[in-house]
């Protein structure tokens, strides 16, 4: 049993090692970006896939952590544990504020309140020029390091992002299986009965939001170091919407589908985008196709195919 539980992480590590050995700098940075944004999408899956909480402000958690890390790095240097700590703290704190605002309302209002909350965070990042660099964002960050080791090269960044993604996937699985995760599912399935069982909806959802905030914050804290830049689009609501699209394509509630959806989206953006401005049309078509043909997302479609292959 412990062997099969270790099999997936081991396979993940092996794949990572192979990719790290064989890929070039551009690909490795691109993959690191996929893994970091994918981790943020994974944290969004906890809210949407298990709590039914469709937040249109998730980029605020990811992006504010990215800014916090970048700003801190300019003053303190970019030590990995410090960056992660700051990102997790920032993501959690912003999630707590956000929860106080958005969790008072039902589904449609929650979505809009989250959007408005995200816009406030964006306004702060966009207009507080002295600290955030305004529209230009922050450049010229020191490279990431851990004690004597420099981690600023593409290979290290990819490995770090991969470890963070794997770790987050483990955390997410443990969360979903825990009483708290089950309670979150309960609040989605039957909120009235949950209250009749003695659960307070706000307490359940608020905790889930904190977990998602910490996870998105951890991912956000490494994000500026991939391209040594952070800008206001990392907190913009369009990134929040993009994360939802990535999640739907990958598969809501599947956890690992978050990475699949992020990879497909960013690959279309990068490779089709290099060739035509109409890449968003491709994304739109893919989105519609997914919803129509594989409403559970690519992750489950993929699983169904492999399962079909196995059983005659």
């Amino acid at each position: 049993m412990s062997l099969s539980r270790l099999a997936l992480p081991m396979a993940g590590l092996a794949a990572m090692a192979a990719v790290a050995a064989l890929s070039g700098d551009f690909q490795l940075r691109f993959l690191a970006e996929i893994l970091l944004i994918g981790t943020a999408v994974l944290s969004l899956d906890l809210l949407i896939g298990f709590g039914g909480l469709i937040s249109l402000g998730h980029a605020a958690l990811f992006g504010s952590a990215a800014y916090a890390a970048a700003i801190a790095a300019q003053h303190l240097g970019a030590s990995l544990p410090v960056m992660l700590g700051i990102g997790i703290a920032m993501g959690t704190a912003v999630a707590a504020l956000m929860g106080l605002v958005i969790l008072r309302a039902g589904s449609l209002f929650l979505l809009i309140l989250a959007l408005l909350f995200g816009q406030i965070v964006w306004e702060i990042c966009f207009h507080w020029r002295e600290v955030t660099g305004g529209a230009d964002g922050l450049r010229g960050l020191p490279p990431l390091s851990l004690g004597p080791w420099a981690l600023g090269d593409a290979r290290s960044l990819f490995v770090l992002a991969g470890l963070l993604a794997l770790g987050s996937l483990g955390v997410a699985r443990s969360f979903v299986a825990s009483p708290l995760g089950r309670a979150l599912i309960g609040t989605r399935e039957q909120p009235i009965r949950m209250q009749a069982l003695g659960y307070t909806l706000f307490s359940v959802r608020f905790r889930a939001l904190l977990v998602a905030g910490a996870m998105a914050g951890a991912a956000g804290s490494l994000y500026p170091f991939v391209n040594l830049y952070v800008g206001p689009q990392s907190v913009h609501w369009t990134l929040s919407a993009t994360m939802i699209i990535m999640l739907v394509i990958g598969g809501v509630g599947s956890l690992w589908g978050a990475f699949l959806g992020t990879a497909v989206y960013l690959a279309l953006q990068t490779y089709v985008g290099a060739w035509t401005d109409r890449w968003q049309l491709c994304v739109g078509l893919l989105f519609v196709l997914t919803v129509l043909v594989m409403p559970q997302g690519l992750a489950s479609g993929f699983l169904r195919l492999t399962r079909k292959g196995r059983t005659p």
Partner: protein, 249 residues
């Protein structure tokens, strides 16, 4: 005997319509109190106010001597005030065992835990299995609740409430739509758990109320007609006229 629950002059209007008017009643520790009355009499509305899902317009509620008017539903559950619903309210996509364990974990104070959650999960599953065996449903433990038969769902609804080890269990027509033998099994389980648990039982079936309850409250058009022993209620002229007479006719 002291009153466990005191309902004092409670009223509720929906717009112009008075669903409950000036209802005063008490429930004694250890007793099973029946609540009967024709459809639309206000029985469920009264339950909703007692359990905190509706705010009364007038009156007050005391449980175990303390005012509970300002407590949220979850806080009332924490004090031992547990209800079921007229229409079974289950977690249809989850397994039967998990439905009951959801309640058992919260009762154990571990409903929101994460670290160390594995032990809480195991204990709650054991508790769920005990209840399932008692109800003869252990072979359905892994089934999605949506796939259960109606009678099994009603039983599941009761087991979920019992997993909270209530001090006062409020059951809203638990036997509605059940075959006679299913109803008998369900009532037997309620009786087996009524040591240390008081019960307030809404029912449509007068025979069940007379057989299972120590006292019976009769509601009609939002008002309490009488509250007395089954024999006295049966003899009560206003009750005969408003309710039993209509049945006998």
């Amino acid at each position: 005997m002291t009153a466990l629950l005191q309902v004092e002059g409670v009223g509720k209007r929906f717009g112009e319509f008075a669903a409950i008017s000036d209802v005063t009643l008490d429930l004694r520790g250890g007793e099973t109190l029946g609540l009967i009355g024709p459809n639309g009499a206000g029985k469920t509305t009264l339950f909703n106010m007692i359990t905190g899902f509706l705010k009364p317009d007038a009156g007050s509620l005391r449980f175990d001597g303390a005012a509970i008017d300002r407590l949220a539903p979850a806080q009332r559950v924490a004090r031992g005030l547990v209800r079921s619903f007229q229409k079974p309210m289950l977690f249809p996509a989850l397994a039967l065992r998990e439905n009951i364990a959801m309640a058992a974990r919260q009762h154990a104070g571990r409903g929101l835990s994460w670290w160390g959650g594995a032990r809480a999960t195991r204990a709650a599953n054991d508790e769920a299995d005990r209840l399932l065996i008692e109800a003869g449903l252990q072979h359905r433990a892994e089934a999605r609740v949506a796939d259960l038969a109606y009678g099994e769902q009603r039983m599941a609804d009761l087991l979920i409430a019992l997993a909270l080890r209530p001090r006062l269990l409020l059951l809203d027509e638990p036997t509605a739509g059940l075959a006679p033998d299913e109803a008998r099994r369900l009532l037997a389980i309620i009786r087996r758990h009524d040591e240390g648990t008081s019960v307030m039982l809404i029912t449509h079936e007068v025979e069940i109320a007379f057989a299972a309850c120590d006292r019976i409250a009769v509601l009609n058009l939002g008002r309490l007609l009488c509250l007395d022993t089954p024999a006295a209620v049966q003899a009560h002229p206003a009750v005969r006229e408003a309710y039993l007479g209509a049945l006998a006719a």
